[in-house]
Symmetry: C2
Subunit: 361 residues, 2 copies
Amino acid sequence: MRLVDERQLTDIALGAGILGTGGGGDPYIGTLLARDAIREHGPVEVVDLDEVPDDAFVIPSAMMGAPTVMVEKLPSGDEVVAAFRKLERHLGQKATHTMPIEIGGLNSVIPFCLAARERLPVIDADLMGRAFPELQMCMPTLFGGKAAPMAIADDKGNASIIDAIDNRWTERLARSQTIDMGCAALIGLYPLAAARLRDCTIPNTLRMAEELGRLVRETREAHGDPAAVVPKYLGGVQLFKGKVVDVHRRTEGGFARAEVRIEGLHDDAGTTLRLQTQNEHLVAERDGEVLASVPDLIIVLDSETGQPITTEDLRYGFRVTVVAAPCDPRWRTEAGLEVVGPRYFGYDFDFVPIEERAKVG
Amino acid sequence: MRLVDERQLTDIALGAGILGTGGGGDPYIGTLLARDAIREHGPVEVVDLDEVPDDAFVIPSAMMGAPTVMVEKLPSGDEVVAAFRKLERHLGQKATHTMPIEIGGLNSVIPFCLAARERLPVIDADLMGRAFPELQMCMPTLFGGKAAPMAIADDKGNASIIDAIDNRWTERLARSQTIDMGCAALIGLYPLAAARLRDCTIPNTLRMAEELGRLVRETREAHGDPAAVVPKYLGGVQLFKGKVVDVHRRTEGGFARAEVRIEGLHDDAGTTLRLQTQNEHLVAERDGEVLASVPDLIIVLDSETGQPITTEDLRYGFRVTVVAAPCDPRWRTEAGLEVVGPRYFGYDFDFVPIEERAKVG
């Protein structure tokens, strides 16, 4: 068990912003929310997977919606408590822990807002090991775990319980509710008994986010090259350095979709990188050749500061470093690729691990 | 208390089809469902409002969606039980009675499918006194009664509990779920304590539907003029006789919308009636002059058989008699017109009661 305070949460938000691959919400907003919650309620207990007792009952918590909207419509923290309590009441069982469903700048921090208010411990793990755009893209889906019943609540006081037959139906029903609720809502879902945690989670991702965040911050403070430390830390590869020349962005079906063109600089001069995005970056192509794709991580960093740039923040003129890194190996299985592989997202090519596409490390 | 069997339910479905003003579902489908339920489970107890004990707890039940879809996707009866049980579990209270939320060919019968299966009595009353297209258009809305928490279930096994801040939000959230569920879903909503029944319901509408249905059937069997008995029974007026020459129909936002043109025959020759419809008929205009509008009832009958023609069945060549009849007086108050008056539906004119527009009776 360790206590996480404001400073550590700021590092977590930064590191998780990197692992969030453009989605999962803005780390700056995550930091603001976390700061408020911890200033008001004190530091939050974080426990490792092997510290979770056998009779634990976990309800993960998150924000759902289009990040483009989430930045303009901050959650107050009360909505996530509302969603959480609603699901507890519906299940007739109090949760002993919460945890993130994904690692992203905002969504790694939302459980801390809840945990600080409700005096609950947060488990150091998540359900994706990165951020993905849809609810069923969580590890429990591969192991028969159900997202439902889930609770969804908005800032106006509306709330629903969704109890769908499978996790894709849960996503579909929750997505329409999110759109009705103004494209941003707070959710509690994937209620998990302790025995399911090993299979269904990616462990230590909060610690990893914190280390990565601290590393980038300290490298920045020491006037080093913070964008360069990221692929090294993640066992990944630098894909491209360039300048954003076009961002075609639309909020569609409750998602922030974008197509981004980046013109190469330095070694990459004369070539163009194209990113395709649905909340998170899905595919990176250089001059028509795929360099990396889901489920591997595609990360866009400010070349100078190493700051992760979220989908909604990307704009013309930004100097960026694009990094790719391997995802959790379970996503690379046949079952995993069915849920989060390029073909699920409508791309007509097979997944090739980043280690096979490029020299890594 | 009386027992309602197959024959009576067939009359109820026919009469309710007339009172349903084009919506509330097809009486023929209502009849089929009712027949099945009663053949399998026996007749259903119907009780009057003053027979309901003080400690009763009522959950009304209905089908929600676009009637154009509902005719192709029949409910099995299990979904309405699923929605009902879901809401009971959520509320932690067993219902003692059910009742219709509206009087329509299908929706007057759905509570009987539930009641037969669950051995519950049905209260002889409904929440509209006719059919309306949206969930908040129920009498409780005028008296502070809440549609939520409501349950919604589909044929696939999906179900949600919606707990919105007001009845328009309940409609909005439930409508998206209905669309996701394939534009047809079963619902339990407006949970009501016995003490609220007087204010919040229109009494005796099942008996009225049954009488009206029997009257039309018997007049038809006696080779009389069944379309002529309807305005007489309802204290209404025959607006128009003619032939349908155009139906412009679209399923939009989860509703069946239509614009219908009818060319006059006999006394109405040389003039054209235009009906505007959102599941139910909202406005009838002759050559640009409004003849009748919501919340008064606008009813389209087959001129020969007196059979009510639902929105989704209306088509070119039909010989029809259009009737208007007064709605429950509570809908004509300022508060009522705010919820179901022509301006709510986007029409730029004030409601004028049919008795003032035309000679009635």
